[in-house]
Symmetry: C2
Subunit: 544 residues, 2 copies
């Protein structure tokens, strides 16, 4: 028997309708590429999204077509998202840090019919335009600009394109499993692969991400998504913020520490989200600028493991609660978030910190398990100690990649994350490593993350990466690549000694290489692949 409740599809447009109706004057602050600030609100975002939806329809874009965005975090990008997905098109967010060949590949793979781009990416557009023949419309997310108009004769300008439309647009209603957005994983081997989200998966993810034990989002919040909108959709915050009526501060391209500290202080940001390298920059700037980051109550760390020292600094110096989270493009991205339980209330700070350093536990809607290998079938114990291949299942986890005919799941319906981890009885996840970043030394596994965290705890180390270097005897041995603080005179010997009472001798790095900078991906993750290319043979050379 069916129940007798109203049925409404879970559509992305309904998020914006909610925000525009009940949070119309809630501020959306946007830092433009030229450094100016645009102050708008959910009411105006909704109006412009409706105008945008009409404009896209008049460009002959039809239900199910892909529309690409190549833009920083700003208000026009936000409006475009809602215009695109809300009207039944698919919003394909592109990472501008990809190599041109990769950009060309994914735009053609998605069959993008239009590209909305920030002016700053004009050179990129010009470089690839000849190779993306399916793209019919180029829309610059800005007001009219002579330089752009001359370089791209058929370009349209967003402000002009939408300005004359009335806002009497009704969002269409369609099946909630309709594709809403497309995000390619950068991928370390082969071509990038696309995760094709649905309206339903996005809405359920928004609920879960906003829960008190996830990011704890409400209308009291002023959210700063430092994580780019092209990186798993800024971890879903533009959707979650509309759901809960939160204010948003869009940082534009300026993700350096000084810019972020200024935004946080000026706009009273309560929660900010980004990868560890972002926080490193922020902490350095806060110290330099003597800011106490008063308004900042929470920061969410994902993308890479959070070094313990960072969590302590945020808590002790800035009174800011660090929420350690884990996710992936294929998981929309929320897999786990770290919050304590009622039973942890009486633990002391150190014991609580120990728990909070894990990647946290899954919200309702996600299930995790450990098996003995990527295609493993044997379930491993969730005892907090056993290490295995992490697999995931849930409402916002992909079933297969875009345009693939084969499922990406195991025969019993789980997605293999490529991560190596343990799980305890309470669901707290400890990621040991990406499967490919684990170091296998003489048959024993060594975690590069653990070694990195120790190095990051040294006061004179700014950044640290540990890679598996090929070794003639042990197959692989850990090598530490590190960036010293300015003026530090730290030596390799000093740093190795720093490990002495912290880990077993056989786990210690064989070598330390100091560098000026560690190469980062567009989303701020350390490019270990590049480091392995550069330094993976360093132990062979020495043993020659």
């Amino acid at each position: 028997m069916h129940g007798r409740m109203m049925f409404q599809p879970l559509l992305i447009s309904s998020l914006l309708e909610h925000a525009a109706t009940y949070h119309s004057d809630t501020a959306i602050i946007s830092k433009n590429t030229n450094g100016t600030i645009t102050q708008t609100n959910w009411g105006n975002i909704s109006d412009n999204a409706k105008r945008g939806a009409k404009a896209l329809a008049d460009l002959k874009l039809a239900h199910g077509d892909c529309v690409a965005t190549l833009a920083w975090n700003n208000h026009r990008h936000l409006e475009s998202w809602y215009a695109i997905s809300g009207s039944g098109l698919i919003c394909h967010t592109i990472n501008p840090r990809l190599f041109p060949e990769q950009l060309i590949f994914i735009i053609n793979d998605a069959k993008d019919k239009a590209i909305l781009f920030d002016k700053t990416f004009l050179p990129l557009i010009i470089a690839i335009k000849a190779h993306i023949p399916l793209v019919e419309s180029y829309i610059c997310l800005d007001e009219y600009d002579e330089v752009v108009a001359q370089a791209l004769p058929d370009v349209k300008f967003y402000d002009d394109l939408i300005k004359d439309y009335a806002v009497d647009y009704e969002w269409p209603e369609f099946d909630e499993t309709t594709a809403s957005s497309l995000c390619y994983t950068s991928g370390t081997t082969g071509n990038p692969k696309g995760a094709l989200y649905t309206h339903r998966s996005t809405l359920l993810h928004s609920f879960a991400a906003s829960l008190p034990d996830s990011m704890n989002l409400s209308a009291k919040d002023i959210i700063l998504p430092v994580v780019p909108m092209f990186h798993v959709q800024a971890w879903g915050t533009p959707y979650a913020a509309a759901m809960v009526g939160a204010s948003m501060i869009f940082p534009g391209p300026g993700l350096d520490g000084d810019s972020l500290v200024q935004l946080i202080d000026e706009y009273h940001v309560t929660i900010a989200l980004g990868v560890p390298t972002i926080w490193q920059g922020l902490l350095a700037s806060a110290k330099k600028l003597a800011s106490s980051l008063d308004s900042l109550k929470r920061n969410v760390i994902g993308g890479s493991a959070c070094p313990p020292s960072m969590l302590n600094t945020f808590r002790d110096v800035y009174g800011c609660e660090t929420i350690h989270a884990w996710g992936m493009t294929e998981a929309s991205p929320l897999g786990t978030a770290n919050q304590l339980k009622a039973k942890h209330k009486d633990l002391d700070t150190q014991q609580q910190t120990q728990i909070r350093l894990s990647q946290g536990r899954p919200p309702y809607g996600v299930a995790l398990r450990l098996v003995d290998g990527e295609k493993g079938t044997q379930l491993l114990s969730h005892d907090g100690e056993t290490i295995g291949n992490l697999q995931i299942k849930g409402h916002w986890i992909i079933e297969r990649y875009f345009a693939q005919t084969e499922t990406s799941l195991t025969t019993d319906g789980w997605f293999d994350t490529g991560d190596i981890a343990s799980l305890d009885r309470d669901g707290y996840l400890h990621i040991s490593d990406r499967a490919k970043d684990l170091i296998k030394s003489g048959g024993e596994w060594i975690s590069s993350v653990e070694l990195e965290n120790i190095a990051m705890g040294h006061p004179e180390i700014v950044m640290a990466a540990v890679i598996a270097a090929t070794h003639p005897k042990w197959d692989e041995r850990p090598v530490l690549i590190a960036v010293k603080a300015k003026d530090s005179t730290l030596t390799e010997h000093d740093l190795i000694s720093f490990y002495h009472d912290k880990i077993a001798k056989w786990q210690m790095p064989d070598k330390v290489i100091f560098v000026d900078a560690i190469p980062l991906s567009g989303t701020g993750k350390m490019l270990k692949r590049k480091l392995r290319e550069d330094f993976g043979s360093v132990l062979l050379e020495e043993n020659v």
Copy 2:
């Protein structure tokens, strides 16, 4: 184009699976009818729910059958809920405070095939048994009891019924719009009508109810649902708690202030939920027992408007944040909850209190509007001043009542709540009255709720109800029915004088009647219908 995400139906069983997997040892404390305490946890609840599902199947109950529960808030009741709905049956929660004729009506209307009941309701069962021939199985939610066995020869005992089943049960998968639960509204005229919830509506409601701006539920919480499970399913807390992994304290039948203070203090309750009359009792007991209710961080008030004095006492004396909420059986029940926005941060306490006294604003998933009459079609302004008939729409709002062939909605798809209210631009709802409780005096509306709140602010008044009494000249005039504090010598004249500088003269009650007690419904609401019967003609008599 469909997206490429996993599809899992939103089923109630998945809530329990989540709680059992990641919050297995989280405590469920249950006060039994005989006063003893049972300590269990989500892991055991899940095991017993699976045993229960098997037992129900062996009683020849099949997908879509209704199974009634007649029980207080306790752990066996909780297990039964999940066993019933999780296995595809419909859980029909019955309010034992209904009159026997009403009980008979709803049990027959629902075609209940089995009744699970607390031993304490044996007399009720015996009284109605002859009139509910469709009921095939009687299950006493207890261990074997001689008295029950003798009175009901064919009765089964829950503990015995489930104990021998193994827990190797897999919850069945079915369409998420399948009926999960049935709850009748007591109704003031005609027969009670049933709201038939779905698995999907329950799951989406659980998400919304747990959000930071609703009840803010997490695994840090220890929840005390004082509101009975037969009253709109304890406002959905048994589902929301499983979703977030919260601990629960079930108070059994003891809803008096002393019992509640003891439970809160002994089990470190962080959030409690109930109607205003419950909180009145709690505050009196806390004072008497000199408890500071240390652990209690939030209390949720719904069912009737929250008197301002109560909100102030909870905040100032107990450091407890009162969340004023509004809902109804037809809305699962969450319609609005009161939390501030970022822009309210710098208001002073008095200004914040003013906002927090409203019923709050809708979470994502609910939309509200005002129209000019129950069947009105003209939309009224949401300006915070205009008063109109409140209508509602959303994922967890009913479309029609159980077994009705006609929709309960307006032609454009809204449900009329029967409440009279205003809405401001931020979505904050001010309920003026139930449509039928408004007083129409000489063509002008007077709010009974406002008059009651003023009376409740008098230190010597324990409870107050205002009704519309028939008046020969003005059609209706307000009459105040009040309960004085013990030993108070307050007079009618004193109380009328208390209104003098608070409202316009024409709004003042024509008369005060002091009574020893105001009749309450099973869920603790004042029975105004009864008061109108008793006192509705009092002004006619005087004017004779």
